[in-house]
Amino acid sequence: MTAVKVFALLACLSTGAMAQPEDNQAIFQNKILPVLTENCAACHSVSTSQNGLAVTSYDALLRGGKHGQAIVPGSSQTSLLIQYIRGEKTPQMPLGGSLPPDRLAALTSAIDQMAPIVAHTESRDEYLEWLLKAPKAPAIPAAANAGAVTNPIDAFVLAKLESRQMRPAPPADRRTLIRRAYFDLIGLPPTPEEVAAFVADHDPQAWPKLIDRLLADPRYGEHWARHWLDLARYAESDGFAIDGERPTAWRYRDYVIRAFNEDKPYDLFIKEQLAGDEVKDSRESEKDASERLVALGFLRMATWEADATSQQQLRQDFLNETTGTTASVFLGLTVGCAQCHNHKYDPIPQRDFYRFQSFFAATAVDELPAPFVAGEDPAGMKKKYRFYEDQVDLARQQLESRKETLKARFIESKHLQPDAPAVAEFMKELNVANAFFQERTDAIFKEDVWKKYLEAKDELKRVEELESRYRPVAYSVKDLVPPLVPEVPPTYILRGGDLSAKAEKVEPGVLECVLGKSEPAQIPFRGDSTGRRIALAEWIASPANPLTARVMVNRIWQYHFGEGLVRTPSDFGKNGAKPTHPELLDWLATQFVEHKWSIKAMHRLMLTSATYQQSTSHPDWKQYADLDPGNELLWRMNWGRLEAEVLRDSVLALSGRLNPERGGPGALLDAPADVAEGFEFFKWFPSDEAEQHRRTIYTFQRRSVVNPMLDVFDAANIAATCPQRNRTTVAPQALTLMNGDLTNREARYFAERVQKEAGPTPAAEIDRAFELVLSRAPSQKERGQALALYSKFAPSEALEHLGVVLLNTNEFLFVE
């Protein structure tokens, strides 16, 4: 059998597969680099480039060394590299040895397979020239197969496929589509009824209608806000050793959720987060003032070393982080490199880093009074605040009485007079850290009175924390300007990023490479603020900025398609990945601006394309996977995998126990002792059960208490901005889902639910279970396999096992 298939495959490759210049890079990576790495890199790497030759990249080979270009794509005969290896030129390479014949053959065939370069068309500067000019809507290409074009996205994708004699995958079936749309837009599975209705709906508008319905669903914002929170390095504590709580940081999280649900124009979204206090925009009214102070939380989300030894360094760290994150999130540029030296790859001089930083020179961290806005349920917040205020009073009284009991017992056990100095000393020490008492060996510290006292102390702390989360305070920033301070602190270039090595003084200014010239920014007068941040925000959030719209549409694309058109979403620079479809990216960017920066319009555009609706499998996959293993040409849909939060939320939704409550302070999830205990500066008080069943976005994000289940499924590392989640497959994930709490506990409720909704026959229960988890009925074989459980276990127990198994299946975790 193999011989025939092999022949067929080779035939495909030799007829349909002429390499394009763009393929050379892949051929280099797959076929040439491994051989060169093994045999040549020891002397010809970037750092050890003997005779100027490095063999570590395709470009380096083209540049060549002292003797000239090392390879001539398409012609191994004339390639210096081959001539030296063959010994046609001396000295023969590798020096002192020779390459095994099979390796040499691999090299020559790979070079011959490469597309010849007619003229060196894609120089890196041309790339920058494209990148740093505002996108213009390109002409929409005409595809040969116009029938396959649903919207212009498809025209761009098809044009590229057709130029390689490739065709897109067939459309996915409707059950696959509805699951894809649900997980993608709201992060939860569809109910069996929703699936059935969609599958039966023959209205040609059924798909766009479904998308509209999901975009209008408030659960959309809860899911998509998570993507933004990854970028914003959102957390509710400082990090570092103390890891102090940020009690009202959750208001920023809810602001982001509302922004997505309300489809807040992206340009306004930017301005509010960078300069909410300075923004004057006709699209919002005075009542949004506190909303905009909350939005400034973006600038506060970095880690913060509360006990830093040097306050100056802490301040500088804040400025550096803010500069780097702002540029990477909104502009897709890695300016952080220029903190110490001129950027090695992109045209960002060190000077520009500090000019950019200067926009934040007056910015001070602050907690500002900000009444709750309508979207935050002000009445409910007030009620909760009052409630916990009372709880704090009660807890305080309780603690006082425990103290008195303790005092009495101390006096009694030591046979002291109540006014003895030792008693006063003891009471004084009670107000100091517990650590001291742990070293005491007195009998009283083993007694119940002591335990009760500690419990009362914890209880007070717990309710105080809760109370503080309902305060109408924004975790925000403000500019310190005269007369509060003598002057706005000047910004200096720091040589090597070193605070003590101040060089030239600089004024706020945007990146020279983008603006085309270096000039100070125009700072509007803003009264009690410097107006610097709004100047920056307006420059970023402008249609004329070449990066902003491209970077954001690329992010949206990435979350829908699994990979961006630029696969390094926060690095559009020379060192990042180049766009696979630059024209499409430009077209989308211009559409974004044309649609008034509406993110929902972008979702509609992308999801209604035929490209998005493709199947993940393709009749020609064998051939295509060899040509384009990374699916850069979008010849099929990429597979997805449920993100940590989506997985947890979906399990809870399937067991019927997901608590739909929206907004407000986060729930603290139960955590194993080794995760949640043993901290010197805080204690972890898990919320009650119902609270814990809220969507994961509403769980409390403490930097040092990372939920193990979310962690093992690659939740964002909240130390820094996270433009793309990892997607690992490791044994601890299997242990988590087979043996862990979440699935085993929820499977019991899942079984109850299934029995209630289906029943009474095992077959009906099995069908329902499959429909709930996988949106389809089981096959005959699967039903038989599941029925085997009923022969071994009682029905409810059998269902529980079936539940655990279904939640562990690949079909559940992966999205087609």
Binding site: V35, S45, T48, T616, P629, V730, M738, E782
Partner: protein
């Protein structure tokens, strides 16, 4: 990020699916030349050159150990004790406020003595380790690039002072795979009283595929989270669940064979099942003879934590685990306030277990195939702020003492030297990346050839290359 890896495994599966290696040969591919081009990313791989050790245990002394109080005696400190230290020529900016104030030279509160045949000097902090000096190669001249804890800890673990790069263990398992497929290839043993700053990133795989990340084993309670089946689940129920899951996943794979992740995930379940039996058997410390338990100090609460983990490390390398990394509690050796108290406490917690580990490995014939490295993130200053009541020492990236032992190491050697006050390494100066290059070399890898293409260039543990500390190599 894991795009390259999945593409490779994708191709491999593709091709094996339609005729396997024969086909690859036919198509003129050279797969053997490609690193990491195998079905199982953790399958053992041939080294670049013959390895002198097959496992490595890295003992991380977090907080930064003072060289002048441990392995680098400085009589001059005693001579100038209490006199002003001149920092005007030094450029140390991580804590400018600290070094701007007057500071006094501070003698070591610990006495030194020569030990063993080699006569290596060790302070009284390590009475047990001192009996092993003939197995140790002490390097007194290592420098770090950064004097702040988080950055410096990143550097010893990943070679870089910023997050995001693969850890040493990840690089080693990427380069060599592992011998026991039923156990993790790379185990991290942090102290749960206080784990390193950036948690799992310290033993993460960075931009390497996730298969190479370290697995944390705990020394109290379950070694791996959720390793045990849920309470009350019968063996029958468990095997029924497994069987049904296998069946469903296999059927699904048949219809969706173009997604390589599906097979990878099926494999991860099989590994998980094997770990459920293997890990508890390997880590059953309770079954160790009393003499061994005593040797590691398991009965004493002071030595229990590090002792248990040293014993775990021995058992893990015995069972073919490639890389084991132990950590003292975060910042434990950070003796700003009181060098005597701090270092005494930390030495008491680790001295006996570490000596036991060396001796135990030796008596089992494992020392010759195991490389041991003992190191903190930086050294400490020879002086104390003048206004401080007690004598402490601050961060000093310019000099630290590190020791190596075991496979490929010339025991009983001392390499390098610092200046008279122990402030700066001045002779045979090596950097952290040189330590990494040495580890790779002993393990059979060439640091220049161990590369991974990521974000535009070939990455290395040692970046542009390190130099081996050749004086300590046997």
């Amino acid at each position: 990020m894991d795009f390259n890896a999945s593409r490779r495994s994708f191709l491999y599966r593709n091709l094996t699916g339609v005729g396997g290696l024969a086909l690859m040969e036919l198509m003129g591919r050279d797969l053997r030349g490609a690193p990491n081009f195998t079905d199982n990313p953790l399958a053992p791989k041939p080294p670049h050159h013959p390895a002198k050790a097959k496992s490595c245990i890295f003992l991380t002394m977090l907080g930064g150990v003072s060289q002048v109080d441990t392995f680098d005696p400085k009589p001059a400190l005693k001579k100038f004790d209490g006199t002003a230290m001149d920092w005007s020529k030094e450029k140390t900016t991580d804590q400018p406020a600290l070094f701007a104030k007057p500071r006094l030279i501070t003698a070591s509160p610990f006495s030194f003595q020569k030990y063993g045949h080699c006569g290596t000097e060790v302070s009284e902090l390590f009475p047990n380790l001192a009996t092993c000096v003939d197995d140790l190669a002490v390097v007194r001249s290592i420098q770090a690039d950064n004097g702040n804890h988080p950055a410096a800890v990143f550097q010893i673990d990943t070679g870089f002072v910023t997050p995001g790069s693969p850890s040493v263990g990840a690089w080693l398992t990427y380069g060599l795979g592992t011998e026991n497929q039923n156990l993790p290839a790379f185990v991290a043993l942090p102290d749960f009283r206080s784990i390193p700053f950036s948690g799992a990133q310290q033993w993460g795989s960075g931009f390497l595929p996730a298969s190479y990340q370290g697995t944390v084993l705990r020394w109290k309670g379950e070694a791996i989270r959720n390793l045990r089946s849920p309470e009350g689940l019968s063996g029958e129920a468990q095997s029924s669940e497994r069987e049904l899951l296998r069946g469903l996943n296999q059927d699904y794979l048949r219809d969706h064979f173009t997604n390589p992740d599906l097979q990878a995930r099926i494999d991860s379940y099989e590994l998980a099942y094997r770990m459920q039996t293997e890990v508890p058997a390997v880590l059953d410390i309770e079954r160790e003879p009393a003499s061994v338990r005593e040797m590691y100090g398991l009965q004493d609460p002071v030595t229990e934590s590090f002792g248990k983990r040293c014993l775990m490390a021995r058992k893990l390398v015995e069972h073919g685990v490639r890389y084991v990394q132990l950590y003292t509690p975060s910042q434990s050796w950070d003796a700003h306030i009181d060098i005597r108290k701090n270092h005494l406490k930390n030495a008491q917690e680790t001295d006996k277990p570490v000596a036991a580990l060396i001796k135990d490995l030796k008596q089992r014939g494992l020392l010759e195939s195991t490389l041991l490295v003992w190191m903190g993130e930086f050294g400490r200053t020879p002086d104390t702020p003048a206004d401080q009541k007690t004598k402490g020492r601050d961060h000093n990236p310019k000099a630290m003492s590190v020791w190596f032992a075991g496979g490929g190491i010339k025991g009983g050697t001392v390499v390098g030297a610092t200046d008279d006050l122990g402030l700066k390494a001045v002779q045979d100066v090596y950097r952290v990346r040189d330590v990494h290059a040495t580890i790779l070399d002993v393990m059979g890898l060439n640091d220049m050839r161990l590369t991974y293409y990521y974000a535009g260039r070939n990455r290395r543990l040692t970046d542009t290359g390190g130099k081996r500390i050749s004086q300590i190599l046997a």
